[in-house]
Structure formats: structure tokens, C-alpha cells
């Protein structure tokens, strides 16, 4: 979709509304004490918001598999770094 269309703009506004709604939800949930579930819910909502931004605002949805590779590989390495570091510090 190299050329802007009214449909594309409608999508952008819908995505924006969803992002603001998810922000309000995550802040409201943070006032409820759920123990460890607070962390899980907050990170799930954040990842949902991040996916919306990447897919629609950064146009990943329309990109080739090559660009998807460029986007996902750093996330794979970041996961590796975090898990690797934790496996050291937690089990020391």
C-alpha cells in the first residue's frame, strides 16, 4: 500500500483509539492488586500495544519476509541476553 487511501487513514485512527484504550486499561488494572498477575497483565497489554504500532504504524503488516526478519532477529537476541543473564544471576 504505497499510496495513502481513506481506508488506511480510518485504520490509523482505529489503531490509535485501541492504543489509548489499552493504556487506560493497563493503568486502571495497576490499581488492582493481583500479585504476580499484575506484571503478566501489564506486559501482555504492552506487547499488544507494541504489536499494533509495529504492524500498522510501522507498516510491518505490508512488509516482505526480509523486513520481518530484520524486525524479529533483534527481539530474539534480546530474549537470549535477558534469559542468559538471568540464568547466571538467579542461580549463582
Amino acid at each position: 500500500m504505497r499510496h495513502g487511501t481513506t481506508g488506511a487513514r480510518r485504520t490509523y485512527f482505529a489503531v490509535y483509539a485501541a492504543l489509548v484504550a489499552l493504556t487506560v486499561i493497563t493503568v486502571l488494572v495497576s490499581y488492582v492488586h493481583l500479585g504476580m498477575m499484575n506484571v503478566v497483565v501489564a506486559l501482555l497489554i504492552a506487547s499488544g500495544k507494541a504489536s499494533l504500532v509495529a504492524l500498522f504504524f510501522m507498516h510491518l503488516k505490508e512488509e516482505s519476509r526480509l523486513v520481518w526478519g530484520f524486525a524479529l532477529v533483534p527481539i530474539f537476541f534480546l530474549t537470549l541476553i535477558i534469559l542468559g543473564t538471568l540464568s547466571d544471576t538467579l542461580l549463582r
Binding site: H3, G4, R9, S30, K49, I75, T85
Partner: protein, 196 residues
């Protein structure tokens, strides 16, 4: 002497190449912030009570307000990209100009927050939570400022008539960077303000 006949003379190929370049740069940015996210994870696992107690000292209302400001700035960026894809350079300038203003508003709110925290005696050397908080929001703030500079440059380029529906590269590439800065904040809000 004729120009070398490689794919980069083809505007479509040049656009794809520029895009891969920006995504590569963003990969290095993921790892730059990733180092701090890793430090956060390690220390949060080590001192859960400290993180729980300290994060309540942050201003959750201003943090949420700033999230909405940044999300709105991402919307104006994507609308700016849409505008230049339709060849509307003037509209692009309006949207990118609005984004720069929203970026400025974000930094002003951040300034108010930091001032408030300094008044309460909370500094980068107060404890590990505030070390990470100032480091992460500070590095992010620098990214917002640099993004504002780049977007301003795109507005200037548009003013010189250098951008059109056939040449959108600077608009799309700077837009990708701005969205990345938004992505980082999407994770900073819960990690620092909501769950500590």
C-alpha cells in the same frame, strides 16, 4: 561517464535498501535499550520489595498523560507519511510539525516529573530503582529530542520542495525511528510506573 548500472539507480530498490538500513539501525537500538531492560530485570528479580516500594513514588498520572502524548505523536507521524504518499507536502509539514510540538510537550512533562522527584530527594544515586529510572527515561528523552531534530529537518526538506509522492524516503525513514521511540516508551510505562 555513465552512472554505474546497479540496482540503486532504481528508486524502488533504493527505497527498500534505505528501509533495511533503518531496520538494522533499530536492531542496534533494541540492544542499546536492551542492556538497560536486562539490568532492570536482574535487579527487579533481586530486590522485588524495593522496586514495589519505590515505584509508588513516581507520578503515575503524568506518566500516563505522557503515554497518550507520545501515542498521539505516532498517529500524526503516520498521517504525515500518508499525506506525502498522496503528494501533499503542505499537509505533511503540518503533521510533522505537530509531532515535533508533541515531542516537546512530552519533554516538558518529563522535566516537570524530574523536578518533582529532585525536590523529593530522589536522585540517580538514591537507589537501584531510581538509577534505572533516570537512566532509562533519560536515554529515551535523548531519543525523543533527536527525533524532533530529524522530523524538523524533514519539514525543511518539504519546504524546499524536495519531497513528493515519488520520493517519500526521508518521511518514511524518520517515521520508523519515531515509532520505535514510541515502542520503547510503551514498555517503560508499565515497567517503571505501573509494576515497579
Amino acid at each position: 561517464m555513465s552512472a554505474p548500472q546497479d540496482g540503486h539507480n532504481d528508486p524502488a530498490v533504493a527505497f527498500e535498501a534505505a528501509k533495511l538500513g533503518v531496520w538494522t539501525f533499530l536492531a542496534t537500538e533494541v540492544l542499546l535499550f536492551g542492556a538497560l531492560f536486562t539490568a532492570y530485570t536482574v535487579y527487579r528479580a533481586k530486590f522485588p520489595e524495593l522496586f514495589q516500594a519505590e515505584h509508588l513514588k513516581l507520578n503515575r498520572i503524568l506518566g500516563t498523560l505522557n503515554t497518550v502524548v507520545l501515542l498521539t505523536s505516532s498517529l500524526t507521524v503516520v498521517l504525515g507519511v500518508d499525506a506525502i504518499r498522496r503528494g501533499k507536502a503542505r499537509l505533511l509539514q503540518l503533521y510533522y510539525g505537530a509531532t515535533v510540538l508533541l515531542g516537546g510537550a512530552f519533554l516538558c512533562v518529563k522535566y516537570i516529573e524530574w523536578t518533582e522527584e529532585f525536590h523529593h530527594g530522589l536522585f540517580p544515586d538514591t537507589n537501584i530503582f531510581f538509577s534505572l529510572y533516570f537512566m532509562m527515561t533519560g536515554l529515551h528523552g535523548i531519543h525523543v529530542f533527536l527525533g524532533m531534530c530529524v522530523l524538523t529537518y524533514v519539514v525543511v526538506l518539504a519546504g524546499r520542495g524536495r519531497l513528493s509522492a515519488d520520493y517519500t524516503t526521508p518521511v518514511e525513514m524518520s517515521g520508523l525511528y519515531w515509532h520505535f521511540v514510541d515502542l520503547v516508551w510503551i514498555y517503560l510505562l508499565p515497567l517503571l510506573y505501573l509494576i515497579g
